[in-house]
């Protein structure tokens, strides 16, 4: 009976092992073959890249650049992808005049047109690659094509388009970029903010105009105005300090804290220390701390006994407010905020005062 059972197991096991073994053997052959092909391709790529390296390097040299562009224009079709890769790799670490030369070379080689056409490709990675490359060479003529990709169904393409438009800095892209703040992806929001930063002061008006049309966006716009870092936004921000929505008030005060406070906003921040919302009071304490105005010390000293979020901002602010700040911290040493005050005093004694962002 045992023998029959063993024979039965063997009848099942042996074919299963043989099948699995054959499958794995084929996989091993494919993997080894893949290695050989990849190695051969890498060698070819290195060889071709080396051939054109002198021309690519010459793009940095104002005198030699025209000659190099001419030479690159003559690159045979089968080498163009490799040269394009080398040019883009160069642009990852380069700015300034070399970008213009690379752009000229890309035009001469027909790469710019190829990348523009790639924006309409059916393959998402080609569209993303095209958007990335056009951004790298700062191809202004591609703005509208890139704007069209802001609604692409693939996030990677939308991301590449936002990054490219940020690099281009063309005002025509501002309004569509602001709309991109409502993308479903949280990461895209960050990318749009970074792209808008590149525009500086010119981004303020489209952002405000967007806020006028979408009041629900006020808090986000306030945060963005702080991130864009332009003092031309101070007026609407101070106005929003009195908004009825605590989220908007907190965002406005956070932005003011980042931008730095003038006389008027200093008093708004002082007033906000008595706000009913903890977030607003914490943002106000931060704004006061960043104002570096010594007369703020007693107010921040009182805020040390507020909720933890407010107390932390106040403590950091007092640390940076010189003698007056130190006096308040000493006073708090014996009170409930003792641990925090001790920490700040310790930091004061051990290291030079530093700004706290």
């Amino acid at each position: 009976m045992i023998d029959a059972f063993v024979a039965g197991i063997e009848a099942l096991l042996v074919p299963a092992l043989v099948t699995t073994g054959v499958f794995l053997a084929l996989a091993v052959i494919a993997v080894v073959g893949g290695h050989l092909v990849r190695d051969a391709r890498a060698r070819r790529r290195r060889r071709i890249a080396l051939t054109y390296r002198p021309h690519i390097d010459a793009l940095f040299d104002r005198e030699q650049a025209p000659k190099a562009i001419k030479a690159l224009a003559a690159v045979p079709d089968e080498h163009r992808d490799i040269v394009a890769g080398e040019l883009l790799a160069l642009l990852r670490v380069t700015a300034g005049a070399a970008v213009a030369n690379v752009r000229k070379a890309a035009h001469a080689m027909g790469l710019a047109d190829r990348w523009k056409r790639a924006l309409e490709s059916r393959w998402w990675w080609r569209r993303a690659e095209g958007a990335y490359a056009l951004g790298c060479i700062v191809e202004k003529s591609a703005v509208l094509g890139l704007v069209g990709r802001l609604d692409d169904r693939h996030e990677e393409v939308r991301a590449a388009a936002v990054e490219a438009l940020g690099r281009l800095g063309d005002p025509r892209a501002l309004a569509p970029l602001v709309e991109g703040l409502w993308d479903d992806s949280g990461l895209q929001h960050t990318r749009v903010v970074l792209a808008l930063r590149e525009f500086g002061a010119t981004a303020v008006e489209p952002l405000l105009s967007h806020e006028r049309r979408h009041h629900a966006a006020t808090a986000i716009i306030a945060d963005l105005l702080g991130a864009v870092g332009e003092t031309s936004a101070l007026d609407p921000l101070t106005e929003w300090c009195s908004d009825k929505d605590p989220e908007v008030r907190a965002a406005a005060l956070r932005a003011l804290g980042t931008l730095g406070t003038c006389d008027r906003t200093y008093y708004y921040a002082l007033r906000a220390l008595g706000d009913e919302s903890v977030d607003v009071r914490a943002a106000a304490a931060r704004a006061l701390a960043r104002s570096r105005r010594r007369e703020a010390a007693p107010y921040l000293g009182k805020a040390l006994h507020d909720e933890w979020e407010v107390a932390v901002e106040s403590a950091h602010g007092l640390r940076d407010l010189g003698e007056e700040g130190r006096e308040e911290l000493d006073r708090a040493r014996t009170a409930a905020a003792r641990a925090l005050a001790r920490q700040m005093i310790w930091e004061l004694e051990r290291r030079p005062a530093r700004s706290h962002g």
Binding site: L13, V14, V32, E156, R350
Partner: protein
Amino acid sequence: MAMREVLSHAIAVFDVGVILYFIALNTLYLTFTAIAFFELRRRRKRWTPREISGIMQSPATPPISIVLGAFNEQLTVVASVRSLLALNYPAFEVVVVNDGSADNTLAALQDAYGLVEAPLTHAHAIPTQRVRGVYRSPTTPDLVVIDKVNGGSKADAINAGLNAAKHPLVCVIDADSLLDNDALVRVVLPFIEDARTVAVGGMVRVANGCTIEGGRVTEVRLPRNWLARFQVVEYLRAFLAGRVAHSALNALLIISGGFGLFRRDVLLEVGGFAADSIGEDMELVARIHRHCLEQRRPYRIVFLTDPVCWTEVPESARGLALQRNRWHRGTLDVLRRHAVMIGNPKYKRVGLLASPYYALFEAFGPVVEGLGYAVTIVGACFGLINWPIAKLMFLAALVYGILISVGAVLLEDVFFRRYRRLGDLLQLLLFGVVENFGYRQLTMWWRIRGWVDFLRNKGGWTPTPRKGFARA
């Protein structure tokens, strides 16, 4: 004559049982490999470099406290901390716990970072041995050093670090672990993707033989030492096939102590690492599962292959024996502590899949395998063995095992290709075959010794002797 027949029959019955056990074990592992293949293929398309860079720039990326315990690490601790501080992540702190070192670990850190004593302002949420002092660096604000009385276990040191950690996520690593530059950015992704995530484990790879510069692995090569090469295949099989599949089933029962990221609030809820456990990493994960399931809380414990931690594996038989003995005692200890989960439907997949698998195949595996070999060899010597059964044993245990190892090496090459040279790949395949003849039986023996020591309540935590990384 009749006695001989009875004995021969008994051996045959026993061997058939062992054969069925081997077939079940290897089929399970083959299934894990298949699940891992599809899971890795799905994950490969998930996060692109652009998204990774988005994580770096996003203000919403959660900050991390890296906690590492250091006991008599004066030669390596400064380089370890330096490489951790240079990791690519937007907001993190490094909390080093000097666990009552008898050497100059604390002095080395003081010299390197100009540490000064700071007030102890954090709560002592998890009881640990007494903290003697907290030190901070004026030049490196993201470094906190805790000096405490030795607690006799890594768990006690890590718990002291957990108390001091200020960020919502805590990354626990070994003092001799090397992280890839992007390891934190990658290991944090499940927390961003899904709010139910409570813990994530990263891949542990073998650093022996690799080129290490500035605390980073810059060139991946195979170790020169044979024992270490076998362990490369072993790690690939355990991590790429086993843990990926367990994670896909949300039944991951172990996150390596070398590299794991946890939600701090959950760690505090469950009371941190168990200081009296030998396998504290596995014990913690089992306790988190148990805690969340008993509270009917939706949760996820994930294993990822992209965040990589490099570790030095023992190159001597003695070191490896000590390690495997300890690991096995750890597994048995965890299964004993959480025996209530085994086969219990209340604990869902952990109760019905993961814990029975660990009990049946990980805990009892070496005993069954050892007895199978012993009975077959003795039977063969006395002419009591049925040769078709011996042949079947060879096929089920060794040939099937070879296929599993080759499968794991292929997973590595198809999805990661860390060993870029064709020669290294071929060697890995070769070692996947050869490990089944000698190495596997050796580790089985060390694990049986672990069983014996566990039953005799002998052992404790014995550090594994290592050579140390040659850092450039």
